[in-house]
């Protein structure tokens, strides 16, 4: 039996440049930067002062008090994005997931850090304020699998369900595994993506100690780049087979054509061009794409000296001469690095680029780094004929994932 083709028929986004696909797309293509002063935590005693926050997110507008008590901010983002995605897909709880499809639908989300807002607040009470006990929902809120469990419960999805966690590549691994399950017939549909909400005082102190956060902005592939900027958010995709999407007349956003993974097996923080290249090559081979068939790469592009230089080397190694014609941009320049959600936010950006035939820019680039030697689409979005695109995610610890998308 040949492989089934897998398409995306629903998308939902909660991001620093807007929630809902329409606002997210508007922000991306306008090159709007959602990075600003930290407001979620007091910045006294922190050297990290900026982040890509989901501003104005009102949990009470989405959840009643009883439900909210069980939801860490990361689960809240995941549920809101999943509701948007499922609604957009046209699949309904009662009509579809309530029937046989619910048994055949996988729920696979990526999360890098987990419910650290819950953990941070609980430990603050315990260690600093001398509390004698923690809230009884502490564990079900903070577990790294909570967002996946909450999404499966929300829609009655009773097929395979788990959280993929590989730091900054978590969502890409989640989407890739969901894609393989639907393609291989282990599931007929999947709700997949990633979520992260880890802008807590404790977590930020950890990032501060890593000494890789920029004091003034995220400028991937820029000659003046000086580090990453943290973000938060969620993106969720609904996957199904091309046949089922066509059969029910669903609006198809694009096809997931291939998925590649690799491990550097070298260093817990330093990136490796060979490992990154292996993941990209594996995705292309899986998709049956030649390098010159790809028009756009949504880069991992964190804005650190090491990542961007290494990723550029890997892109040149994989694409050869075509690397000079390829459009490469990092949407982290607008939303920051949402860690375990990054791969999903970027998969969404890549699908929107294919759909609209517009490539989102690398915002904030003052002067493209000549050492990277790539067209990084600085500052302004660009109209482009793109038939296929890659989305790269390269995590700390050398856990790499690349997703290949094709226009349908």
């Amino acid at each position: 039996m040949g492989h089934r083709r897998v398409v995306v028929t629903g998308l939902g986004v909660v991001s620093p440049i807007g929630s809902g696909v329409a606002d997210y797309a508007d922000g991306l293509f306008a090159g709007r930067c959602g990075i600003g002063p930290l407001s979620l935590v007091p910045t006294e005693g922190l050297s990290v002062r900026i982040a890509g926050e989901v501003r104005g997110f009102d949990p009470a507008a989405h959840f009643d008090a009883r439900r909210l008590g069980l939801l860490d901010r990361g689960s809240q983002f995941a549920l809101v994005a999943a509701r948007q995605a499922v609604e957009a897909s046209g699949l309904g709880f009662a009509s579809d997931f309530g029937g046989p499809l619910g048994l055949r639908t996988a729920t696979i989300l990526g999360t890098g850090v987990g419910g650290i807002t819950t953990l941070d607040e609980g430990f603050h009470r315990l260690y600093r304020q001398g509390a004698q006990r923690l809230h009884p929902f502490t564990i079900p809120r903070l577990m790294v699998s909570a967002p996946t469990a909450q999404v499966s419960m929300e829609f009655g999805l009773t097929g395979p369900a788990f959280t993929a966690s590989s730091a900054c590549a978590s969502a890409a691994h989640a989407i890739g595994l969901a894609f393989q399950m639907v393609r291989g017939g282990l599931a007929d549909a999947a709700v997949t993506g990633g979520t992260e909400a880890s802008l807590t005082f404790g977590a930020l102190k950890g990032w501060e100690a890593m000494r890789i956060v920029s004091p003034d902005g995220c400028r991937p592939f820029c000659a003046t780049r000086n580090g990453m900027v943290l973000g938060e958010g969620a993106a969720v995709l609904v996957l199904e087979t091309l046949d089922s999407a066509r059969g029910r007349g669903a609006d198809i956003l694009g096809e997931i054509a291939g998925f590649g993974m690799s491990a550097d097996a070298k260093d817990i923080t330093a990136p490796d061009a060979a490992g990154a290249a292996r993941a990209m090559r594996a995705a292309l081979a899986d998709a049956g794409l030649e390098p010159d068939g790809v028009g756009y790469v949504n880069a991992h592009g964190t804005g650190t000296t090491a990542n961007d230089a290494t990723e550029a080397r890997a892109i040149h190694a994989v694409f050869g001469d075509h690397a000079r014609r390829l459009l490469v941009s990092s949407t982290k320049s607008m939303v920051g690095h949402a860690l375990g959600a990054a791969g999903a936010l970027e998969a969404a950006a890549t699908l929107l680029a294919l759909r609209r035939q517009v490539v989102p820019p690398t915002a904030g680039v003052e002067r493209p780094d000549p050492a990277c030697a790539l067209d990084v689409v600085p500052r302004d979005a660009r109209d482009a004929k793109v038939e296929a695109a890659l989305s790269n995610s390269f995590a700390f610890g050398g856990l790499n994932a690349a997703l290949a998308f094709r226009r349908v």
């Binding site: 100690a209 000494r211 890789i212 956060v213 580090g227 817990i268 923080t269 330093a270 650190t304 000296t305």
Partner: protein, 84 residues
């Protein structure tokens, strides 16, 4: 050798897992196989030891801390009065 210099070199030797007598001031960290993550740990240990803040971003690591002497000077510049 000042006490400060002594302490700084001891920390570099311990965190960088390098024999103390290889730590000449002009010795390059890369040549001593002190990786970027080790440098971050060294900076952390120095800040803890002296109760100071060393302005350091790993994205500028090669520019700022090329040699053992660079690390020492960074500490000296923020420690107001090094003990003799």
């Amino acid at each position: 050798m000042t006490e400060l210099e002594n302490d700084v070199l001891a920390i570099i030797a311990e965190k960088g897992r390098v024999e103390r007598d290889r730590l000449a001031l002009d010795a390059r960290l890369a040549d001593l196989e002190i990786a970027s993550l080790d440098v971050i740990e060294i900076v952390f240990a120095l800040e803890e030891r002296f109760g100071i803040e060393i302005p350091f971003n790993a994205n500028d690591a090669r520019k700022e801390f090329d040699t053992v002497g660079d690390v020492l000077r960074a500490v000296e510049s923020v420690v107001a009065k090094p003990a003799a």
